[in-house]
């Protein structure tokens, strides 16, 4: 009956299984080691510079930095111009991308399977894959050349907005797909006009999902450097005129990196940027986890 030629391979199979498990654990630990090393390095080299002044003062000039270094003092000043610029540009980008993204997401959710929504979904997916530097080029050609006639905060925001848009479209559609159909139908059955169902039922019900998507998108664009190099350029003082060149924290890091006198500032600036970006990340994940 038993046609099995019982070559006993049991031991070697169990051994192989254990070896592979060991390799998997080793590689997994290796995979996460950079996060520990990077954050450790930023804290070790950056924490000394972090202070209240670092947040509220503008960047020093190269000369001030050089003088401080030769006197063995900490470099004066801060990155207020970058922080304000980042906030300004991200806020503008969000103001453009959030309404458009949410409305488009609702449209895709409402009309599945048709030609136009499918086309829009695919185009949005392709937009999501466009490298951020290319978005910088595009905003340069659109805004820098034709709208503000020079590098500007607006141009920076446009490039960031195009980056955020597909992320918000997708998260909106996914969030709405998870809301039970019956909820929408119940509201419609009461004779409520459709726009009110969206505003009063769908958006409040999916609010935390939408918020998660928005925060993740903001976290992503906040650390972007490349598109801003081609659009916002940078500025050594706080600028609130959206038609003028503006700084951003990642842009300042790039400038410090290229300036031997300022290079000490890269760590504290990066640490601050990481704290902001990772908090957004963690908060949005918490919101997402709380929803389940």
């Amino acid at each position: 009956m038993n046609a099995l030629n019982e070559t006993d391979n049991t031991r070697s199979r169990i051994l192989k299984d254990k070896i592979v498990l060991g390799i998997v654990i080793f590689f997994s630990l290796l995979t996460i080691s950079p996060i520990v090393l990077i954050i450790g390095k930023l804290i070790a080299k950056g924490y000394k510079q972090l202070s209240f002044g670092f947040i509220v003062e503008n960047t020093p000039s190269t000369f001030e930095a050089m003088t401080a270094i030769s006197n063995h003092e900490t470099i004066p000043g801060g990155i207020a111009n970058g922080l304000v610029g980042t906030l300004l540009m991200v806020a503008m980008a969000a103001a453009i991308a959030i309404p458009v993204g949410i409305i488009a997401g609702i449209y895709l959710y409402e009309t599945p399977g048709k030609f136009l929504p499918n086309l829009i979904r695919n185009v949005s997916d392709i937009l999501q894959g466009v490298p951020s530097i290319v978005l910088g080029l595009i905003s340069y050609m659109w805004v820098v050349k034709h709208v503000t006639n020079g590098f500007s905060a607006l141009a920076g925001s446009v490039s960031l907005a195009i980056m955020m848009l597909p992320m918000i479209v997708r998260s909106t559609e996914e969030t709405f797909k998870m809301i039970p159909q019956s909820l929408k139908e119940a509201a419609l059955a009461l004779g409520v006009p459709y726009y009110k169902v969206i505003l009063k039922v769908m958006i409040p019900t999916g609010f935390s999902g939408l918020l998660t998507g928005i925060l993740l998108a903001i976290g992503r664009v906040m650390g972007e450097t490349a598109p801003l190099m081609l659009t916002a350029l940078g500025s050594s003082v706080i600028n609130l005129n959206i038609a003028k060149p503006t700084s951003a924290v990642p842009l300042l890091i790039w400038e410090f990196y290229n300036d031997p006198n300022m290079v000490d500032l890269i760590w504290s600036s990066s640490l601050l940027l990481m704290i902001i970006v990772l908090s957004l990340n963690v908060i949005s994940k918490q919101i997402a986890a709380g929803r389940k």
């Binding site: 009956m1 038993n2 046609a3 099995l4 030629n5 391979n9 049991t10 199979r13 169990i14």
Partner: protein, 259 residues
């Protein structure tokens, strides 16, 4: 000793004081019972009574879950299954699941022979052909699929898929076949084919079957267990249990008072 549990002479499986807990929640409580060779034994009970856990413990599939604790012993032909390697144990105890689950990436032929492939046993093509034909004949599927052995198993109907899964379990030449509500996803015609098949298969194999369908247990099983809240309440010849249940809870279950 529970007087409502009959003793089996020369059992193939001997379960002694078996208890299983998940995350400290007890699923099977001090079960002691013997299973008769070449018979069909049905395990019944309301959902959550521990019947599936008990079945899965017999080939130690319950160990796939996290945080389980198992005490007591199970012996297969006087060999402690908890001391055997799961590889050898599961080779002797075939298992069939609630939903038909042929491997979607494999053909019908490969599905039947999957046990050999997974276990790294290289056997000759001729031998493979024989095993495939014999196993498919055993489950009365050979005539239906012999011309499409290279098609994917997932193209078959639900009932055919489930018979393919039984063939996959038989191909390895097990001693015991464990079935976990094998017909709950099937229509009545496919169900009756599987039931006929099980009655035929007990000539060569010992069959243990979890079911929540009482009439199925009555139709095909020789012995029946009734479990309630992890406890084995009553065990005996199916005929006796259905006509003259000893425990009040068994009687209530069989008359449809709960379940």
């Amino acid at each position: 000793m529970n007087p409502n549990i009959v003793t089996i002479k020369d059992p193939i499986l001997t379960i002694e004081d078996l208890s299983i807990a998940y995350d400290k929640k007890v699923a099977v409580k001090n079960v002691t019972v013997g299973i008769k060779k070449n018979s069909v034994t049905a395990i019944m009970g309301p959902s959550g009574c521990g019947k599936s856990t008990l079945l899965r413990a017999l080939n130690r599939m319950h160990e796939l879950y996290e945080n389980i604790t198992t005490t007591g012993s199970v012996r297969l032909n006087d060999e402690d299954i908890f001391k055997m390697s799961t590889i050898r144990l599961r080779r002797k105890m075939g298992m069939v699941f609630q939903r038909p689950n042929p491997f979607p990436t494999m053909s019908i032929y490969e599905n039947v022979i999957a046990g050999y492939k997974l276990n790294g046993n290289s056997i000759k093509k001729k031998e493979k052909d024989e095993i495939v034909e014999r196993s498919l004949r055993d489950v009365a599927l050979w005539d239906e699929v012999k011309d499409s052995l290279n098609k994917k198993g997932t193209f078959l109907s639900g009932g055919q898929q489930q018979r393919l899964c039984i063939a996959r379990a038989l191909a390895f030449g097990p001693e015991v076949i464990l079935l976990d509500e094998p017909t709950s996803a099937l229509d009545p015609i496919a169900t009756s084919k599987i039931e006929d098949l099980l009655i035929k298969l007990k000539e060569h194999y010992t069959i243990v079957l979890v079911t929540h369908n009482m009439s199925q247990a009555a139709r095909i099983s020789d012995y029946s267990m009734f479990m309630y809240l992890g406890e084995l309440v009553e065990y005996g010849k199916t005929k006796n249990m259905f006509t003259n249940p000893q425990d009040k809870r068994t009687e209530e279950y069989l008359t449809g008072k709960f379940g």
